[in-house]
Symmetry: C2
Subunit: 429 residues, 2 copies
């Protein structure tokens, strides 16, 4: 494990006082060991970040990372056609495609300053290989659904448990069960997933109330809306991370709050698929629900740029509420950092730049034409409303430098692009 000294930084700490500090950061053995105005210790790597902005690595809490290969495959169509198109390709996918798509995705995450992501897919062992190679943190959710609705070989819940058992001791891999949603999973499946999550002390991920159809169909079938039903059957508890959560009543928001369920909010995906819902974030905040931010997969976004996602998130809510004060820049940055850590029950380890936390850090170019004027007063706004993934110069995960001045050190970029190119030609022909 190498030591890194970051010099002369503007540090957006995201600590409990949301302090912005000017100074140095010493990283040793994967940890942030010291933050001070000036540090003179020797280090293996020294990054002079004068004029740069150092932020906690971004946390993307809902993704289907291998779907990078389906980028721009099914745009501008109604949801049913979107599902048809993506399922048609999906049914032709091989393990190689999942690996190639995951490699492309991990590369994109590193290059845009994301250091942790939550995934939902099958063959997550292929995605785990890409995570291991790239060096980021992967919270890898093996898709769980009823066996009769699954295309997986074997029972999904068993596959998930096998995956978790095999991968849970590996570095930076956090395997977990991820339930497709109420339209594809019975009470038994949901409770089985919870049991596995509790047994191995993982997060339990799911798609929740993304579309009206999902809500109304479930209500017709069970007499309850999805969140009400999941509460009743006893699925919800404080390790549940619910993606989307757009079509919720205030009663359902309170159910999430009462159970300590976190939300993975996906504004771009919801807007692009025109699912009509706007997740009720102001009400979630008021009721005490922890909300994090996510890009969703590349078939519905079409990238995984969390800097762009923050801007779109804030804009969407401001426009929808006719209120420029909602989702202010600081709140929006919180969603993408410390709230993400909280959703993963890693708040003591990641999500902010503080001594004794793991060193998951993104360094942004503060001396660019998009980031001036730069001061403590404008830094957070510039990050949220002006920066994009290309402004990230360096990415550090667990104290290891994954990208330095836009050069990815852990992956052969050309090989990753070539493989993605080749597999996509095969897959989409």
């Amino acid at each position: 494990m190498s030591s890194i000294l970051i010099k002369n930084a503007m540090i957006v700490t995201q600590n409990s006082n949301r302090e912005i500090k000017l100074g140095d950061i010493y990283i040793d053995d994967g940890l942030i060991s010291e933050i001070a105005p000036s540090i003179h210790s020797e280090a293996e790597y020294v990054l002079d970040t004068k004029g740069q902005v150092v932020i906690p690595g971004l946390i993307n809490t809902h993704n289907h990372i291998s779907m990078t290969l389906m980028r721009s495959l099914a745009d501008d169509v109604h949801l049913n056609e979107f599902l048809e198109k993506t399922f048609a390709v999906d049914s032709r996918r091989t393990r190689k495609d999942v690996f190639a798509g995951s490699m492309l995705g991990v590369l994109e995450l590193i290059k845009s300053g994301t250091t942790s992501f939550v995934d939902m897919y099958y063959w997550e062992d292929e995605t785990a290989k890409a995570v291991t190679e790239g060096g980021i943190r992967g919270f890898l959710g093996w898709a769980v659904l009823d066996e009769d609705k699954s295309t997986q070989k074997g029972a999904p819940i068993k596959n998930a448990e096998n995956f978790i058992r095999e991968f849970r001791k590996k570095e930076r891999i956090y395997p977990l069960p991820a339930v497709q949603g109420v339209y594809a999973a019975s009470e038994e499946t949901f409770l089985g997933a919870r049991e596995v999550a509790e047994k191995y002390n993982t997060i339990a991920h799911l798609h929740l109330s993304e579309t009206r159809m999902e809500v109304y169909e479930h209500e017709k079938k069970t007499g309850k809306r999805p969140a009400e039903w999941l509460d009743k059957i006893g699925f919800f508890y404080d390790h549940v991370l619910a993606a989307h959560s757009t079509w919720l009543t205030i009663n359902e928001v309170r159910i999430l709050a009462r159970n300590g369920v976190s939300v993975a909010h996906c504004p771009t995906s919801n807007m692009k698929l025109a699912t009509g819902g706007y997740a009720p974030l102001p009400e979630m905040f008021r009721e005490g629900v922890n909300v994090s931010l996510a890009t969703d997969g590349c078939a519905s976004n079409n990238n995984m740029d969390m800097l762009e996602e923050m801007k779109i998130c804030s804009l969407m809510h401001k426009a929808h509420r006719w209120d420029a004060t909602v989702l202010d820049a600081q709140t929006t940055l919180d969603l993408a950092t410390i709230n993400g850590a909280r959703a993963l029950h890693m708040e003591d380890k990641i999500g902010s730049i503080e001594e004794e936390k793991r060193a998951d850090i993104a360094v942004l170019n503060g001396r660019s034409e998009r980031m001036l004027p730069l001061s403590k007063a404008t830094a957070v706004s510039n990050i949220v409303y002006s920066a994009h993934g290309g402004d990230v110069l360096s990415t550090i995960v667990n104290g290891k430098l994954l990208m330095k001045n836009r050069q990815v050190l852990t992956m052969n970029e050309k090989a990753v692009l070539d493989m993605a190119d080749e597999r996509s030609r095969e897959l989409l022909k």
Copy 2:
């Protein structure tokens, strides 16, 4: 004037058939002289664009470019507070600040592939200097408003005319009158601006129906909504370019269509200021209004990235209409290219890549982690939904290479950033 040969490109032509061609482009004496599968002529510069995507230079039809120095100055506040904050700084601004802000802005435009922009401000002669230095096309609107509401020295309409007279023969400078809006300009002022525009054959620019307050106050005063009133007094004609145009009735949309008025749509600015309106683009298309795209100034955006703006534009309308098919990728790219050219009455010269047109071109990196898979089928979606300004490698205006592989050739980037930094510290202290 130098010759440039672009080799092995994927060319998103934006011609009338919206063809995507594979091949070479020969640029000579400022013009696109040949597009063919393979060109072997000698050229001063040869750009091998294998794996890259060549698009018409983007056209940003509403801006206050020198406000880059006010980036992130007044975020997350209600509109009245926004205006108070920006006006307070504005009243302290000097010519030097307008120049420094314009230089920073021109740099940002070049680096994000924008080759033409429409501006509205005073001291546009300072902005003209930045445009001349940077080498892009500036459609520079001198702000016109009633003399008793103006802080300009002298009568705004006279200042505008003097500016137009002095600058209209200069290369790539298109001076024009830009009326602040119905809240700041009388019938006489509006008609004076039209007279000047007609006299010098320029565009007449204005802010139209951005906020409800503007509409209701004007209706209270005159009995007519702004667009109805501007129609009645005879301001509208086919050289008018109306920014925002959000709070319009279908009757007003028809008024714009009947008069051949073009719209400069500013989705990010409208969302961020939460002015509540969603410009009725589907109705504008149906009625035959030409709609172009714009970022507005950096106080309300907070950047001028037209690639980002396209995505936000499409997302906003899809979400608002609960319809994923509106503002599809191709339509959205049209707003930012050929429709912009039409709004400027330059459709025969810019806005598409066709022989005999001026060579205004942006080259995007198609071999990046955000742009794969890349094919004729995905190119436009990738541009609109995944690319950002940082993906632009090279920018050409009027046959001149302004940026090559992210290196700006016409401006001293460090000096521009230093000047902006210094002036903003002075201005904002």
